[in-house]
Amino acid sequence: MTTPAPTSLAQANMMAVALARLLRDGERVFHGVASPLPMVACLLAQRLHAPRLVYLNITGSANPTPAELPASTVDARLLAGTHSLVTLADLFDMSARGAIDTVFLSGVQIDVEGRINMSAIGPYAQPKVRLPGGAGSAALMPTARRVILWRTKHDPRTLVERVGFVTAAGNVDRVVTPLCVFRRVEGRLQVEQLFPYTAADAVRAATGFPLDADDTTPVAPPPSEAELAALAAIDPDQIRLIEFM
């Protein structure tokens, strides 16, 4: 395990804030396993602009008020304060019947159409790397009203023209990386916002598919004082950094 690069905290903060800003008050938002940044983003959005957001997670809790954030997002610490518990099946059912507004998912590879690979690098039957698998994504991605992808790596092997194996495909709306926010427009990812510490040419170079990002591409506002203060309050142990290790 390597230690985070010096810029990791800035990137983690920017990503958490960017994810949170995409969330709307009153919507039902869900994340699954291995999702520290979405966990932080949901709590952040609730604290800032979306107090009525219903934050659901794979532990089956709703609107938890965790005293400390876990590194595993299936952890019982995510049950603290909840008034209800449901099973994984109940949550997937909700998405299946259109009752979840936004689902956070990730992919080891993400392609220009927003499809993800969580299954295998190399030939599927004899893979070079067997990946963890897509967990809920193949069922959630076509049924959730909106999918937000996130990935803490942004390089040409991660953001590719076409994934070698489609673990899941569906209603992807945005993709958030350490460098930018993509939006899917007419079926293809385009840079919607650059992050303040990056430049358009760096993003183009780090992306495995063509982009028209340039100096006119909008830049996301950096995390505000209020956002940073809320982040510090929610995640004092900087669990959000774990995805950068």
Binding site: V74, T87, A96, G133, A138, M141, V166
Partner: protein, 277 residues
């Protein structure tokens, strides 16, 4: 009330080689690890594992050579330790044959078994290559003609679930998240329950709303304190970060290093005692 308590050894001895085995819990949490360790000790072979999201339990059973097939949707140590090294190796070398799923298709297959039907339609899955590689067929809604992915029933031979409390008859209370534990207990032909502690049935009778698994579905009850160790058990203990770090480290090493770790920590006669500490 029937007393279904048996020893860990006896319960695991009743699981035959070649069984389709569903394990409770999810990723780093409340898997029936005492049973998993005993499966390794008893040298079980040719198991088929069924679970939505798994970590150490699947990795160890694959690494110890107990598994030949798997129906799974996720195996990894989340962001805590990343990929599951021995599971990876088993799939990459072809020693374990994976039928990849989404968590929801595992759930749907279990539900079909629970409801006594050979298949069930599922929402989603469209656009995923998992449909083709795992051989999911489609079915037409006889009313609208709409085409849907159909999941075959998954009926485990044995479900193993670890809970916080159970009575001697197998009525089981799960505090915190139930994951798919109730579903696998309903779907399986046989249910083996391990629990942190056996409690008097009268306790459950006072609040039967808390009983997650009814005793009449359960064949055997094993009192196994710290039975989810090194994974977490809600309200009892967290996962054992140091042990899992050492495990993953060994699992990333060569075969000799890994087998030596298993020898020392799982197979050695006093290894089991260490878990209770």
């Amino acid at each position: 009330m029937l007393d279904k308590r048996v020893s860990l050894h006896e319960a695991v001895a009743s699981i035959p080689d070649g069984a389709v085995l569903a394990l409770g819990g999810n990723t780093l949490h409340r898997a029936p690890c005492a049973v998993v360790h005993e499966l390794v000790r008893q040298g079980k072979r040719d198991l088929t594992l069924v679970k939505t999201a798994s970590s150490y339990d699947t990795d160890l059973l694959c690494g110890a050579g107990c598994v030949s097939r798997a129906e799974l949707a996720f195996v990894g140590f989340e962001n805590v330790f990343g990929l599951a090294p021995r599971y990876r190796l088993a799939i990459e070398t072809g020693r374990v044959k994976l039928r990849e799923h989404a968590c929801y298709s595992i759930i749907t297959g279990l539900r079909a078994a629970v409801q006594g039907v050979p298949f069930m339609p599922i929402a989603g899955m469209v656009g995923s290559d998992v449909v083709a590689v795992s051989g999911f067929k489609t079915v037409q809604d006889p009313y609208s003609g709409q085409s849907l992915v159909a999941v075959q029933a998954i009926q485990p031979d044995v479900a193993v679930v670890h809970v916080q409390e159970a009575d001697a008859e197998g009525n089981a209370v799960i505090y915190g998240t139930r994951f798919e534990d109730v579903l696998i207990a309903q779907a399986a032909r046989r249910v083996i329950l391990t629990c942190e502690r056996v409690v008097p049935g009268e306790k459950l009778a006072r609040q039967p709303e808390l009983t997650a698994i009814p005793g009449y579905l359960v064949e055997a009850v094993v009192e196994a304190p710290r039975g989810a160790w090194p994974l977490s058990c809600a309200g009892e203990y967290g996962y054992d970060h140091a042990f899992l770090a050492a495990y993953v480290d060994a699992a990333r090493g060569d075969e000799a290093t890994y087998q030596s770790f298993i020898e020392q920590h799982i197979l050695a006669p006093d290894a089991a005692l260490a878990y209770a500490s």
